[in-house]
Every structure is written in C-alpha cells, then in structure tokens.
Amino acid sequence: MTEVKIRLATFDDTTVLIKLFKEKGILRWFPMENSMEVDDAVRLWMSYVKQKAVLAAEVNGQVVGLANLYLSFFRKIAHHSLFAIIVDPNYRSQGIGTKLVKELMKIAKEQFKLEFLHLEVYEHNPAISLYERLGFLEYGRQKRFIKEEDGGYLDKIMMQKKL
C-alpha cells in the first residue's frame, strides 16, 4: 500500500493542480476544455485555500492529488457543499482518492459543521465506484450535460452523502 500523506493545500500547490489538469485524458471528466477555462477553474478551486478547505495528497513528498470544498457564501445553503477531486493518473487505484475524500468528509463535518456533501460526476467516470463505495447516493442525472468535441454527449450524475 502506498504511503499517502494528506495535508492542507497551500497556494504553492497551484502549479501542481494546473499540471494535473494538463495530464492526458483528465479534462474528459471536467467541464473545462482549454487552458483559459482551466486557469479560471484553478483560480476558483484554489480560492478556498484561504478557508482551509483544500486538501493535498502527497506520496514521497510529491503532490499527486487535490480535493476541495466549494463552501457556499449564501447562508441558507451553507450547511452543505459541493466538492471536487483530482488524482494524478499515474497514481490511480492506490487508495489516494479514497483517502482524500474520507479526509474531506472529516473536515467537512468536524471543522465546517456541514450536514452533507455532494458531487457531480460524468457517466463512465471510473471514480463513480469510489463514490458508491463511500456511501454517496445518486439524487439526479442530467442528460447530455457534456458535449464532447466529436459531438457525443455525457450525462452528469449528481450524488450526495449525509455526514
């Protein structure tokens, strides 16, 4: 089993996040498709560092995954949060995603007093089995959410878990 260290992310991790988004095939599972959109998404993702709501996974001192909570500013929806996760494709199937999500659930409950977490994932994404294993349940499915370059579509699956 790979030894994984989970820590709070810092702004220094921004370059790693950009690098991970540039890995081949990664953007299939995200709504962005070019570097301008990636830069925008990274800016938003890393803006939660200030709130200590971004985690980094390290293997041998190297960041191989990140996860964040999109904490809401609106009070009436501040008891839950959407989250996102990215893991280096070269480090998949080593329990890194599981550790990141588990730690994220822990800080969501203990630190931010959230009542549930939710996520959005596209059909065929291998991470769906991870979310199911961790107890996330589907509450909706948006048909043809993603339009791929070849004209094909992917549904968006929405899942959530009570903390």
């Binding site: 709504p31 498709e33 009070r75 839950h80 509450y139 909706g140 948006q142 043809r144 339009k147 929405m158």
Partner: protein
C-alpha cells in the same frame, strides 16, 4: 394579453430586480437569506443583460417580470444553461410567467442556438407548475438543500432541477 410588452433587459432594470430579490416574501424560493446576498444575486443576474440573454416584461409600461439565461462560460457545457425568472408578486397568475418563459425558450433556441434550458427551483415554488405546463422534465430531487433557520416549523426544502430540450437544436 393586454398591453404586455417584451424587451431586452438592461442594467437600468437592476433597481426593480434588486427590490424584488430583497423582498423577504420571495426568499422562500430563492437561495438568498439577507439583503447583501440578494444584492450579489441581483448583480450577477442582471449582468447577463450585457449579452442580450435577459428579457424584461412590461405591463402598461411598468416592469412586471424578468427572465434571464445564465450563459455558461465553459464551452463543453454551454449548450444547456440555467435560467431564472421572477414575476412581480402583484402580477402573478396572469400568464405573464408563461409568456416570458416561452419567449426565453425562443431566445435560447433561435438566438443562442442552445440545446436545452435548465431550471433550479425549491420545493413548493410556484414556478414548478409553470415548468410542468411548459413540458420541462424533472431530473433531480435533492433533499434538505435549503436550510432556513428563520422558518422554525419547516427549515428544510429540497432542490428540484428541470430540463427542457429545445426542439430545433437538439436531437433526442
């Protein structure tokens, strides 16, 4: 409908939109819970008028409703954006929302060449019957999405998401 006119919204409509969104009676079915949050939401909303993605309804030259397509910035998901619509509470149940929604769908289809429109509403919202009448299909039900502690009896409300595929630009 008598004297009902439609025009593109402009930044000058922000005052009336702000007024409606700051009205606590409207908060039950919207995400905001304070005047500050309402102001942020209104600013974001009316900002889409710059792209001609917002329509304003006038009855006897008075603004009575605003409907807006929240255009998506990312290309892969830009074909099916969310929209929001609000009708002056004094002018509800007169077909204004229905008329505005039809025009918004037309704008989405013909001008922006969108494939679908998405609506986000909360349990009990009067907009649900309007969406159903316009043949929107519900695709998500998220329990406990809203927690309004001011409403002691029933603080939680579910979020419902609806979608309508626009005929000309979508192949089912």
């Amino acid at each position: 409908m008598q004297d009902l006119k439609l025009r593109y919204s402009n930044m000058g409509d922000s005052a009336i939109l702000n007024q409606w969104l700051e009205d606590k009676e409207n908060w039950r079915y919207l995400p905001m819970g304070s005047p500050q949050e309402a102001a942020i939401f209104a600013q974001n909303w009316i900002g889409f008028s710059k792209y001609r993605a917002s329509l304003t309804c006038l009855l006897n030259d008075q603004v009575v409703a605003i409907g807006t397509i929240f255009l998506m910035p990312y290309k892969k998901v830009s074909h099916s954006p969310l929209f929001y619509l609000i009708v002056d509470k004094q002018k509800r149940n007169q077909g204004i929302g229905t008329d505005l929604l039809k025009n918004l769908m037309n704008l989405a289809e013909k001008y922006f060449h969108l494939e679908a429109l998405i609506a986000e509403v909360y349990q009990g919202s009067p907009l649900i019957s309007l969406l159903e009448k316009a043949k929107f299909q519900q695709f998500a039900f998220q329990e406990n999405y809203i927690k309004d502690v001011a409403n002691k009896k029933n603080p939680y409300l579910a979020r419902l998401l609806f979608q309508s595929f626009l005929k000309q630009n979508s192949t089912k």
